[in-house]
Amino acid sequence: MTIRTRLIVIGALAAVSVFALIPRNVTQRVYDAGNGRMKDTTVRQVPISLGLDLRGGIHLALEVDESKGPVPDCADAIQRAERVVRTRIDEFGTREPVVQIQGRCRLIVELAGESDPARAKSIIQRTAFLEFRITDMKNQFQNALPQIDGALRRAGVKARGATPSAVSQLFGSDTSKAGRDSAADANTPGVLSSLLFQGQLPGEFLVPEEQWMVVDSLIQRPDVRQLIPRGLDLKWGAQVESRGARSYRAVYAVEARPIITGEELTKAQARRDQLTNQSVVEFTLSRRGGRKFAEETARHINDYMAIILDGRVQGQPPVIRGQIATHGQIELGTKPLQEASDLALVLRAGALPAPLTIVDEQTIGPSLGADSINDGIRAGVVGVALVILIMVGYYRLSGVLAVSALTLYCLFTLAGLAILKSTLTLPGLAGFVLSIGIAVDANVLIFERIREELVHGKSLRLAVEDGFKHAMNAIVDSNVSTALTAFILYLVGTGPVKGFAITLIIGIAASMVSAIFVVKTLFLIWLQRRPAMTTLSV
């Protein structure tokens, strides 16, 4: 290869590298919080993106939650969850969010620049399964209460807490004498019925806040579940209500069959009701869903309809006054509007196929990241200065050649990172600094060889030629083995370690090009310019 072609190759490589490193404008579709639509924006993108540990942000690893029952195919569930989470995150408003599946059953979410993990988690983790069910209009559950009490008594569960008389005093309710009468017939207060106070609408019961755990464990018992009338389910209310001085939690007997689910939902929007000062999420159903909904609500006029989100009844079930078609709303009471708009967001994105649990969570403040970058760069500058000092001090002019090749090495490595779209992490930065020290190894090997060849009495040209040739074996073998270990690190490692491994591999490749090809070219030019040279500054 002539010097000319060598220079062309080097020039081309450098040009490509510089091109890869130029910041450019990229058009992105982002969510516009103003009108709830996606819009195009142009952002200036620096080609090497910084990892979360350098610019701050939230890193979450999620898995399918199997604590409440096994999930048969977690890989499939995670794949579907990934789509839902991605939609939610895209609307969350973070720039360049990362949502990816790691391994088989793990989902990684990275939000750069965010610093509120609680909010991010609630948006990602919320199952957001919405359903509408009619409450127990025929009081079937209430009629079954004596049997349930009987079963519990036989099972040896002791009653405790309030007496039925308290109920009538408290509410003066008259809707369902039957239930309480039958409980009274048994002469002793029923185990379960003594804890349930009749609510204001059919199928609603109130439980004192301090006792809801007891009731929950009672209704979870298999023998009780069996006695709950067919076609009915018990669902807890989402909010705690206060009546007088005491707090109560509502439990609703609702039909097991939802009249419609969130799958049919097309739009959801949060708003603040001016009259009641309540946060409200308005939703619109698809045409098909609207038809189904209209049909069902027409059949259930004057019935109460529970709006159930993730297994919890939202607010008090409203009465159906007339046929409802495609529009409806969920009332959230006094909760802040932010929460309502987050709910609207997750409803739009759809429900998760299975609940997710967080197995790894990291939050890095932006100031810490900035400090890390500064420290890393300072260490890099000092490290490079020392390397230059050693190389030039020991090898003189040849050392200068090696150092100038080192500049190209830095350029190539950074460009390699940009082309592979890898992120620069803190360990990656450390790896880069370290690789500068190791990158000169090839030149050291070559220069030492040239010196040996000169000592053996070879001519300048031959010594340079043979020096490069003979050092080759050692350089290739040592670099390939290092690259192999780095590759394994890449395969096995996660997150920051992967970034480190990539930096190492690119560094090895770049150092081969710069230390061998570039330095040899420089030597050739040097020898050509000084044909009369008899001693080499090496």
Partner: protein
């Protein structure tokens, strides 16, 4: 022209027994320390919650600990991190409490918040980093780290067996295994926190040490062709001496960068820089004092065909006189080595 160690002629291999003693001492101390204290695994490996806090004024660690105890967060580790106003608080998940605490990140964060409100005062501190890992993930990571090291040995063995010969590969891998053990001993003695980054550093040490061993072995391979009359003992010494200037230079530049990282790159990178700095020493040491003598030992035990085996046997008496039948190819054959197998 500065020339360090030019024409050096030290009998490195002669000192191998003393070298063994030194490395055995480090490893024994490390093993002893490991048995008593155990490795200081990071949250990533044990599972648990970590918070890094920066306060505006210096708050004594004892005061923070008291406040944490007061809010019921007992047994949390508190350390200053780089400066007097930066603290790291770790609440590890112990095996007994694993199930209860697994989802308790927010609870820990809230408890720490309350404790800091009490000890530093509200608004006087800032949480700059939180990390919370379930033990399951930590177990996986431990497995993966181990797998990475074993896999890298395996791949190197195959590569070196293909490029050199299995005896060289085995010697290089054993020397590298020594480095891993010595580095673990060092980590234990220094009580460095074993995080993913440190595992990465150990693997880099593996790569670096192999690199160094290969440079020497490459010389050995070359000299075996070149000097047909010398035994392996001499060839090893010769090769180490010949590569000495290179070793000094390369280790010098690498040490320069790791020292820069150690001193300047901040607290997060410091364990990594410590491991790398030690790794350069042990890598250099093992290439000379572990890899070369082990190669000698292997050649003695399982002599290779051709000259190499004979030379190895001759190494019992380190004299330049070739012993044994010496089925050496035509004397002083500088031509491309005819009978050395498996190049």
């Amino acid at each position: 022209m500065i020339r360090l160690f030019a024409n050096a002629n030290y009998d490195f291999i002669k000192w191998r027994r003393r070298a063994y003693a030194i490395t055995a001492l480090i490893m024994l101390a490390g093993a002893f320390d490991l048995a008593i204290r155990g490795l200081n695994y990071s949250i990533e490996f044990t599972g648990g919650t970590l918070l890094q806090v920066e306060t505006k004024t210096v708050v004594p660690v004892a005061q923070i600990r008291q406040a944490l105890d007061a809010v019921g967060l007992r047994g949390a580790e508190i350390q200053t991190f780089g400066s007097d106003t930066s603290y790291v608080i770790r609440a590890r998940i112990t095996a007994a409490a694993a199930e209860r605490q697994a989802t308790d990140t927010l609870a820990v964060a809230a408890a720490v918040g309350r404790a800091l409100d009490a000890s530093a005062g509200a608004g006087q501190y800032r949480v700059v980093r939180t990390e919370s890992v379930q033990p399951k993930v930590g177990k996986e990571l431990q497995g993966k780290a181990f797998l990475a090291i074993v896999l890298s040995f395996f791949v190197t063995l195959i590569y070196l067996a293909a490029r050199f010969e299995w005896r060289f590969g085995l010697a290089a891998v054993l020397a590298t295994a020594h480095d891993v053990l010595a580095t673990i001993a060092f980590i234990s003695l220094m009580h460095l926190e074993v995080s993913l980054i440190v595992v990465g550093a150990v693997l880099t040490v593996v790569g670096y040490s192999l690199n160094d061993t290969i440079i020497i072995f490459d010389r050995v391979r070359e000299n075996l062709h070149k000097y047909r009359r010398q035994n392996l003992y001499e060839i090893l010494n010769l090769s180490i001496n010949e590569t000495l200037p290179r070793s000094v230079l390369t280790h010098g530049t690498t040490i320069a960068t790791t020292l820069a990282l150690l001193v300047l790159a901040g607290e997060v990178i410091r364990p990594f820089a410590w491991v790398m700095t030690f790794g350069i020493f042990t890598g250099t040491f093992s290439s000379i004092y572990i890899a070369a003598p082990i190669l000698l030992l292997i050649e003695k035990r399982w002599p290779g065909e051709d000259a190499r085996g004979a030379r190895a046997l001759g190494a019992r008496a380190p004299t330049p006189v070739p012993t044994g039948p010496a089925p050496v190819a035509p004397k002083a054959a500088p031509a491309p080595g005819p009978k050395v197998p498996a190049r």
